[in-house]
Amino acid sequence: MKRIHISPRANWQEKIKQQGFVYYKGYYNETAAYTFSAPEIDKIEAITQELFSRCLDVVQHVIDNDLWDEFFIPRKFADLIKWSWENDNPSLYGRFDLAVSSDCEQIKMLEFNADTPTSLLEASVIQWYWLQDFDDRKDQFNSLHEKLVAHLKVCKDYLNGDMKLWFACVNNSEEDFMTVKYLQDCADQAGVKNDFLYINDLSVQDTYLQTPFFTKSKEPVNNIFKLYPYEWMFHEAFQDELIAKRDHTLWIEPPYKAILSNKMLLVYLHKLFPNHPNILPAYYNDSSRFNGDYVQKPVLGREGANVTVVRNGSPVERTNGDYGYEGFVFQEYFPIPTFDGMTPVLGSWLIAGESAGMGIKETSGLVHGNMSQFIPHYFE
């Protein structure tokens, strides 16, 4: 794994904006790229697949042992989660964040963004077009677009009612809007009927529980992809409607992602697979197992908020935020190598449960949050 300096393409800003990357400012600049060998990429791909299998083992373990309290999931959602798991309700995607030694000999899972991952467009489209211009003979670990379209064709058979798939996100984020619109475009290319609405516009008909959700204009929403986390939905006004309408509105990602997107996943991965070479030791509310080198993460944190990195018993980096009410997960510190002073984290994507590509973000600090920068990659 290497970091190389590159010359930005002429008019690169215009090119990426035309490809939908309208939120690139401060996040992407085309002055560097990461390069890999083919065996390194094969290893990342295989480990991503292996980690996903182990994560699914944790889901089964949580369900078998009713660990809802341990995962801070309200018990009333247990049946909904079990139902979505046992029915194998469709899922589009997920992204592991991996820490990698410079020789790729050590690859460690930092976390799994299983429910609402973003940075999809830049991984799937932007870096692909960049490589076409840079050197189209080189290869890239990125079949995201192909796999998304192919999987959405399969998903058609699982859709409810009118078989229209709605795509939803919040109304105040260009990044979320473009991510969801990209996925909607993939559905369109797959021949899936589709439409878009803001999550705030979802409606219910008060008198009849046995109906789907509706749009504001009273069109039924039989199937919906939402870029909005279950950990929030479980506490909002329509929380009970999720349960009451489970046979009438199909949600993608499925409710069992509430287990996988929870940092308690890290604790149970270590508990079930204590000697796994790609899983870091992690404990709930307990830093005493480490010799002063660990990372403290809120159980339900997002985008690197409320994270503290501790070295030799002293905090060396801390981020602010509003998370931590449910307590913290303490994960063993892994020394990620720096390249030109930058610390990379590999976002390794799954589409339909299959390892499908990679997007790299780097930061000058230790904690990757919403200030990290996206860097393209290739391998040969």
Partner: protein, 117 residues
């Protein structure tokens, strides 16, 4: 090869790119959930709800943070004669409607911008 053979973007996505940066519709939300309980107050006959470190006018049980550049401060809403500005279509955006439909039941936890990670 591990890269997509072709990446095509459709007309649907191109239209979405064109719509970015335009003002979006005002969105009405409850502004509370189990984690951030409801906190309301009233002054001069106007009802307000605490959300995102400030106060927003309430209509039909909902607030519309996207309409305002910032929330009102407590000293603003409590000053005598103060009257808040409201979106032009303040009543139709969400809430409980006469025909028995309710909207705005999801989305109130998104205090920041992105809901992704």
């Amino acid at each position: 090869m591990k890269k997509s053979k072709q990446v095509m973007l459709g007309a649907l996505f191109t239209l979405a790119i064109g719509s970015c940066g335009r003002d979006q519709d005002d969105q009405w939300v409850t502004g509370y959930n189990n984690q951030y309980p409801k906190r309301d107050t009233s002054f001069n006959g106007n009802h307000y709800r605490f959300y995102n470190n400030g106060w927003y006018p309430v209509r039909n049980g909902l607030i519309c943070p996207s309409y305002y550049r910032r929330p009102y401060s407590y000293s603003e809403i409590s000053s005598s004669g103060f009257s808040p500005s409201l979106p032009a279509h303040s009543v139709g955006g969400g809430g409980v409607h006469a025909d028995g439909f309710t909207s705005g039941g999801f989305g109130s936890s998104a205090h920041g911008s992105s809901s992704g990670e």
